[in-house]
């Protein structure tokens, strides 16, 4: 790049930016291995807090919460991915139609409404129609806000696949369904998997909406952690945080490489 593009001071700011982004996470990771019960003083390296997470007095709560989180994230991400794939086909492979603009706005609506508003509205809705709050209400709310996140990589991938593929298949007497199942869906697969993973992370991440629509006594990991943090940050919270952090980073890295993989083919 030409020297004109270089501004002294921009590199230090970039480094500062990365330090601000990563330092808190790294510090929490390091302190999760701290043997001392005091969160301020460094004792020695130890895995006691990880043992505490899996077998300590609060382990039952966290285990149940982790299962709920996992079940909801898998179910919500799967549903959202199917819905988003179908919506992407309608938006990109079905020509123009009445209500197309409105449909596009609708898919993105969950991104535009502030989370706290969605949370309040969903709580009011379930309460007004007398729907018992529990895992199902959390799941329904999660599917809705996962749809746009699943849609983004799937639509991007579909846009990169030229129409000749399914047209050729249909010229060779494949039915529409066969062309979709045997030609288009396999080509879309990297985008679909990336969409699933992003939706999975987004569902796992949610606190506010879950906190409003969950029934009494039902916790997901974020609501359980929030409850525990209100009593003060204990070392076992740092151990759980570190584990969740690793899951997020692994899933996002996988999603990133899947999207890249997709780009090579087209």
């Amino acid at each position: 790049m030409s020297p004109i593009a270089r501004y002294p001071g921009f590199l230090p700011v970039t480094i500062l930016c990365l330090v601000i982004l990563y330092a808190p996470l790294l510090v929490v990771m390091v302190y999760s291995f701290n043997e001392s019960t005091s969160i301020t003083r460094w004792g020695s390296f130890s895995l006691v807090w990880y043992a505490e997470v899996f077998s300590g007095p609060e382990s039952a709560i966290f285990k149940a919460a982790a299962w709920n989180s996992l079940i909801i994230a898998i179910a919500a991400a799967t549903s959202a991915t199917v819905i988003a794939t179908s919506a992407a086909l309608a938006m990109l492979r079905a020509g123009t139609f009445r209500g197309k603009t409105a449909s596009f706005a609708l898919i993105n609506l969950p991104l535009m409404v502030p989370e706290i508003v969605t949370a309040v509205a969903t709580l009011i809705f379930f309460s007004a129609i007398g729907f018992q709050r529990g895992l199902l209400t959390i799941l329904l709310a999660h599917i809705v806000f996962c749809i746009p996140f699943a849609y983004l990589p799937i639509a991007a991938r579909l846009q990169g696949i030229e129409a000749h593929f399914e047209e050729a298949a249909m010229d060779l007497y494949a039915t529409r369904w066969q062309a979709l199942r045997l030609v288009l869906l396999p080509l879309m697969l990297p985008g679909i998997m990336a969409g699933f993973l992003l939706a999975f992370i987004i569902s796992l991440d949610d606190f506010i909406i879950t906190n409003f629509v969950k029934g009494a006594g039902i916790e997901t990991l974020p609501t359980a952690i929030f409850g525990a943090v209100k009593q003060g940050i204990k070392p076992n919270i740092m151990a759980i945080s570190t584990l969740m952090l690793l899951v997020s980073v692994l899933v996002v890295t996988a999603s990133y490489f899947l999207s890249k993989l997709g780009n090579h083919n087209s």
């Binding site: 004109i4 079905a94 009011i124 506010i208």
Partner: protein, 304 residues
């Protein structure tokens, strides 16, 4: 890349099935988001019942409570009620400062990344976006851990001799701004990056040939061209900051309420006034939709 523009939208192999393909999205989002927002609008005009719940009786009490103070017994002439407008004002102020902070750090970062060789750009971008995908609650708790009175930041600053005694950062306005900044920084970097990547550096060269200094070039040539990216980034940071709950709740403490805490209190906290909570949420939603509408209109004007 050529295929992107050609195939997108032009193929209609699945046109006969489009109704069925769109139906799941319409049902799910219509039923569990659009309808709930309409229900919330109705609730904001209902009468509150003691401890949660509502009475199905039309009332303007919630909006009246939001805007007007009629004294303890409700019989005095109405004056402007500043409590809730004040919380909105403070939220806008906090979100605005967080946006400014994001811009000050995000612009140089985005510029630096966009001027790297193509191969390393992806890695820098990946590094900036990864923290966004880490659970927001965990990030906020980590920040709380960092900046508490005897936390690592204070210890490092004292070890370096910058401070003699720990300073209180937690439960201050600054902590909230820092938390919001930390939550939404990648939203600022990405759109600015996209704008700088498209920027034609021949413009900078022309400016330099005409004896503009680097900073003059940045201010007079670059900024006007990449402004759409800056505006998009600012909206992406400001809008979620305005309705944020976790950063003000965990880092700001009880004295630094923002809109999110006010709404939460009506449903989960001590206040227990659903219609009022619905009204506050409606006001917030209206502000956000107006901001997005103005933004969309300005975008249309730019693209002609």
């Amino acid at each position: 890349m050529a295929g992107l523009a050609e195939s997108g939208g032009s193929s209609s192999a699945f046109a006969p099935a489009r109704l069925w393909l769109m139906l799941p999205s319409w049902v799910l989002i219509g039923f569990f988001l659009l309808l709930p927002v309409l229900m919330m609008l109705i609730y904001s005009f209902l009468t509150k019942e003691f401890r949660g719940g509502v009475i199905w009786e039309f009332s303007l009490a919630s909006y009246d409570k939001f805007f007007f103070d009629r004294g303890l017994f409700g019989d005095e002439p109405p004056r402007i009620e500043w409590t809730y407008l004040g919380i909105f004002w403070r939220s806008a102020w906090q979100a605005g400062l967080a946006t400014l902070l994001c811009l000050l750090v995000g612009f140089p970062t985005a510029w630096f990344i966009a001027t790297r060789p193509a191969r390393s750009r992806a890695i820098w971008l990946f590094l900036v976006t990864v923290p966004y995908w880490v659970n927001l609650l965990i990030r906020t708790v980590s920040m709380k851990f960092m900046i508490r009175d005897n936390g690592p930041v204070n210890e490092w600053l004292m070890a370096l001799g910058v401070l003699d005694a720990p300073i209180t950062m937690i439960n201050t306005n600054f902590a909230v701004q820092l938390g919001l900044f930390y939550s939404y920084l990648p939203f600022m970097v990405l759109p600015i990056y996209a704008a700088v990547e498209r920027y034609n550096f021949a413009l900078s060269e022309a400016a330099a040939d005409l004896y503009a200094s680097r900073w003059q070039t940045l201010r007079l040539v670059v900024l006007p061209v990449v402004k759409p990216g800056i505006v998009a980034g600012s909206i992406l940071v400001f809008v979620p900051s305005l309705g944020a709950f976790l950063a003000p709740d965990l880092l700001g403490g009880a004295k630094n309420w923002m809109i999110g805490s006010l709404i939460e209190d009506q449903f989960k906290g001590a206040a227990g006034n659903w219609p009022f909570g619905a009204a506050v949420a409606m006001v917030l939603l209206s502000i956000v939709l107006i901001v997005l509408f103005l933004y969309a209109r300005s975008q249309n004007r730019v693209s002609g």
